[in-house]
């Protein structure tokens, strides 16, 4: 009933706003980004265009929330940035907390059926469900990642997380006093495994004697367990911690509650949460990827491309926490910078097992 009423109201609103647009001083109003948990209701007060320019519709499926300070938020901010550039020419809807593939599948199908141009399913676990649904909607572009298998209308994006992992690993090995550093991982797979592998190689590159404690919670969102696990690492002597996925905020928080422990972040910079603990972060610049997919789609290419995020393209970046940057010895920082340049030039390749 309510939804019907809403429909009526919207149906009335659209011609009204069109009338308003015919007035003497049309006020160009930017279409607001409306975020809903389920069915998107996008209220576009777009003036009726004189020459019909098609609005590009993007849907984003997130495994956690858009403010998780990690994986989901980084992508959300990327899409949002593109949206800000494109203005009314783009519509943008988010569905959150769809960690379960079945739920995500329902949402993906829903968006495709509603005529969205690009549906981004932000997680490696969505690969199969995207592949199945993409066959049914050949005119819609789909995207997922971390992954590399594409389809005629499927983009795969593939952050080379091991690159930043390597540099952060170097920092960890150089900064530890105890000779032990800890990785609290979510599950062994996808983005996390790449990052952790690079991190371990980076540690070994600086000091092979430093012990890397590597554990997994078995989940992306076991916040309590991630924090207890981080505490366990520190009890066992680790004084530099790292980890990925949304539960990494727990690791940051755990590290912040002890003295003399550094945290190295990936996906997002969490230094605002713990300004005295987060030393450096690898951050993802998704806007480039999103922009590229929209351009390809508009030119008729609906998929088939693997989009790599790496340091050479600037889609991955290393940022230091300015407050703690001074604590890093100059020669260590130089070594990290050199590794970065070698990675960009292709001289150094982080091999994954």
């Amino acid at each position: 009933m309510n939804r019907k009423m809403l429909g009526f109201a919207l149906a009335l609103l659209v011609p009204l706003s069109a009338l308003a647009a015919c007035g003497p001083t049309p006020v160009p109003t930017a279409a607001p980004v409306v975020v809903t948990k389920e069915v998107p209701v996008v209220v576009t007060a777009t003036p009726a265009p004189t020459k019909p320019a098609k609005v590009f519709k993007v849907a984003l499926i997130l495994p956690s929330t858009m403010d998780d300070l990690a994986w989901s938020q980084s992508m959300y901010q990327g899409v949002k940035k593109v949206k800000e550039e494109m203005g009314p020419a783009m519509e943008f809807t988010v569905s959150e907390n769809l960690y379960k593939i079945v739920d995500a599948g329902a949402a993906i199908r829903d968006y495709a059926g509603k005529g969205y141009d690009l549906v981004i399913a932000h997680g490696s676990q969505y690969q199969t469900v995207v592949r199945d649904i993409a066959r049914e909607f050949p005119k819609t572009s789909f995207a997922y990642g971390t992954g590399f298998q594409t389809g005629p209308n499927i983009f795969a994006y593939d952050p080379q997380a091991q690159q930043g992992g390597y540099m952060l690993g170097m920092l960890a090995a150089g900064m530890t006093k105890s000779g032990k550093v800890g990785i609290v991982g979510p599950v062994k797979g996808g983005d996390a495994i790449k990052y952790n592998e690079g991190f371990k190689q980076g540690v070994a590159a600086i000091n092979p004697k430093v012990i890397v404690l590597e554990t997994y919670t078995g989940s992306f969102a076991e916040f309590v367990k991630a924090k207890e696990m981080a505490a366990t690492h520190m009890d066992a002597g680790a004084d530099v911690l790292t980890g990925t996925a949304q539960q990494s905020v727990s690791i940051t928080k755990a590290a912040a509650e002890r003295k003399g422990v550094y945290m190295l972040c990936s996906d997002m910079d969490q230094s605002k949460l713990a300004p005295d603990t987060v030393l450096a972060s690898q951050i993802y610049q998704w806007d480039e990827v999103v922009r590229r997919m929209i351009t390809l789609n508009k030119s008729g290419i609906l998929g088939g491309e693997r989009l790599v995020l790496d340091f050479s393209g600037g889609k991955l970046q290393l940022v230091y926490n300015p407050k703690l940057e001074g604590n890093i010895p100059k020669d260590l920082k130089d070594k990290v910078e050199k590794a970065k340049q070698d990675i960009i030039s292709g001289k150094l390749e982080i091999k994954l097992p």
Binding site: D67, K188, G218, K225, E228
Partner: protein, 311 residues
Amino acid sequence: MVEQLLAQGFIIGVLATSIRLTAPMLFAALGEMFAERAGVLNLGVEGIMLMGAYFAFWASFTSESPWLGLVAGMAIGGLMGLGMAFISVNLRANQGISGIGIYLLGWGLSSLFFRLTFGAISGVAGFQPVNIPILSAIPVLGPVLFQHNVVVYIALLLVPLSYVVLFKTTFGLSLRAVGENPEAADTMGIQVYLIQYVCVILGGILAGLAGAFLTVGQMNMFVDNITAGRGFIAIALVYFGRWSPYGILAGSFLFSIVDALQMWMQVIGFGVPYEVLVMQPYILTVLVLALAVGRSGGPAALSKPYVRGGT
């Protein structure tokens, strides 16, 4: 490897961690025990915990007092319990389904409120560990038992307290009778609905406290879905513990110790695939529940709404 396992630091680490992990499950499971003993199955514990977690975080962030946080968590928990009591006692809705409804409501609302009031993950100071004088200096036992924050002690004290209420008071007798045979209780002049309301609200308050513990006593921050299924584990623990406070203590401690142990084994690098290790507590739960089937002991009228003089 074996020496490492037997090292004092390792054992202290495992035990201390498991006591911290036990506390929230104790609160939630003891609360659920009261509700179930009175015949109401509240599957919404997880949602109530989430609301308790959010409100405790919000209150302690705003007031900078973790105590006010606890009070706020308990208050919202009691309110949600009141809702569950109304749905299951007055409306006599299917308790399984309405419990899931409460869970989803709690999750959704806590998530929404968090976004409206904070919008970004931030932290609070929370409760700090209190070293109990003298006792905390005892080797091994001290760090394991007597160096926690005050809420952990409250959780542990709640076990004997619940036992006394359940088995040594007229109220406890009445609520046990209500859960076993509400019709008999009714004919004996016990106000069945009132008892059920009190117990479900009490269960809500304790679930809210469990959530509050997570945000102001353990994590010192709020994130969406912070409970990650602990409310459901608490319900399983009530079965595991055969609806008795000490059984629940044993169950939740066993569960936590296995969890803590697997964390430590991962940290040490035990050489067992982590997938096997992280499953341990859950495998244990399923095993114990499977073995416990057939043993009677659950309240006979559990999840059957009571209607006077009819079926």
